[in-house]
Amino acid sequence: MKYIDEFRQRDVAQALASEIKKTVRPDRFYRLMEFCGGHTHAIFRYGLPDLMPDNVEFIHGPGCPVCVLPSSCIDRAIERVQGYDAILCTYADMLRVPASGGSSLFKAKAAGADIRMVYSPFDALKISQDNPQRQVIFLAIGFETTTPPTAVVIKQAAAIKQPNFSVDCNHVLTPAALLAILTPADGQLNIDGFIGPSHVSTVIGSEPYEFFARTYKKPMVISGFEPLDVMQSILMLIHQINRETYCVENQYSRAVTPGGNRKAQALMAEVFTQTKSFEWRGLGHLPHSALQIRENFSAYDANLRFPVETAPASEVKSCRCPEIIRGIKKPHQCKLFGTSCTPENPLGACMVSSEGACAAYWSYGRFRDPRYKINTINEA
C-alpha cells in the first residue's frame, strides 16, 4: 500500500531508534505526551516502547473523542431512542461505552432499541431517506477530523429538506483540550513535549498550535500516524527539548499545512458555532470547547427536536479514566484495570474505545505490566 508500507520499514525504525538513543541526554527524562488516541494505539501496536531508551516516557493524552464524552451523553442518546422510538445511528466506537447504571448503546440495542452502526454520516442520512416514517438521529462525535463530514451532511439534509433527520452534536475541539492539559488546576505540568495529532491538524492546520507552544513554552511536533512518523517526531522533540526551544514543527508535511483545509473550516463555521461550555470526562466543564448546530440549521438539531431530561452522569467510583486522560496515571495504576474492567466488561470509556489508553495497554501491552514479572521474550 503506497504511502503506508514505506512508513513501516524495520531498517528505518532501527536507524531512528539508534538516533534517538544517541540524542537523549543521560541525565534527564523526556516525558512526551501523545495527544491523540490514535497515536497511543500506534505506539503500542508496533511496540515502540521497546525501541526507546529508558529515559523516554510516553504520557497518554485526551485525544480520544469517545473517552472524553461523559456517560450522560450516552444516557441522553438512549433516552431519545426509547422515548421517541427513533432510529439512532452511531459510529461503532460508541456502542459499548458504559453509560449510567451499567447500560450502553449495545445493551439498549439488545433490549430492542433501534440502534444502527454506520461508517459515515451519509449512511445515517440514507437511513432517514429509506425510513421516511421514522425519526433518525445521528450521534455525531469526534474532534475536528470528523466534524467537517457532519457539516456536509447537515447541509445536504437541509438542501433536500429531509424532515426526519437530525444530529446529536457532540463534536469537541482540540485546542480547548490542549489548553486544559497545559493548565492543570494544581499547576503541576510534567510534560516536556507534545506529539501533535495527525488528522485534526490536516483540517485545522499547524498554526493553531503556535499560541500554545509559545505561551506555555513546550515544543510540539505534529506527527503522522504511521510508526516511523511517530519515531521521527520523537527525535525532533528530543532535539528541541535539548536545545530548550519551543516551536511547532510539522513532521506530517505530506498532509498538514500551516493553514489547514480552509474549505473544511469554512463548512464547519457555516454549520456550527462554539458552545459556551461543555462537560468533558476527566477535564470538567471547559469553555468554548465543543460545537453546537447554528440557528439556521436548528431544524436538524436533535437536542432541540428531542429534548430529554437526564440525571447527572454517575461514573464508576474507582474508575481512573479522568486521570488517565490527563496523563497523570497509567492504565495499570487503576485498581479496576484488568480486574473488574476489561474489554468484555468495560467500566470506563478508556477501556472500550478503539483509541482509549486502557484498551491499548490491555490489548497490546499488558505483558509489560510490572505485576506480571515476566520477561519471556528471550527465553527458550
Binding site: A15, G38, V66, Y119, S120, P148, S353
Partner: protein
C-alpha cells in the same frame, strides 16, 4: 476514530462530487465535498467516507528520502 488513510484517485464524478479511489487494489467511493481540484492519480486522505485533504507527494518523497538516508548511515555503522 481519527484514522485516515492515503488512497489513489481512479476516477472523478464531477456532478456527484465523488471519486472512486483505490487502496492497494480495493476500490471505494468517497465524497469530495471537502477538497478541490482533484485529478485522477492524485492521492487523498480519506476518513468516514470523505476525502479530507490531498497528499503532497513531494513532501512524502522528501520524508522518505530522509528515512532512506538515515537507514543508509545506520547500516554503515
Amino acid at each position: 476514530m481519527c484514522l485516515a488513510m492515503p488512497v489513489q484517485v481512479i476516477s472523478v464524478d464531477v456532478s456527484a462530487d465523488t471519486a472512486k479511489v483505490s487502496l492497494g487494489g480495493i476500490l471505494k467511493e468517497v465524497s469530495l465535498a471537502l477538497v478541490d481540484d482533484v485529478s485522477v492519480g492524485d492521492y487523498l486522505l480519506i476518513h468516514v467516507g470523505f476525502a479530507l485533504n490531498k497528499l503532497d507527494e513531494d513532501e512524502a518523497t522528501k520524508t522518505l528520502e530522509t528515512f532512506a538516508e538515515l537507514a543508509r548511515l545506520h547500516a554503515m555503522e
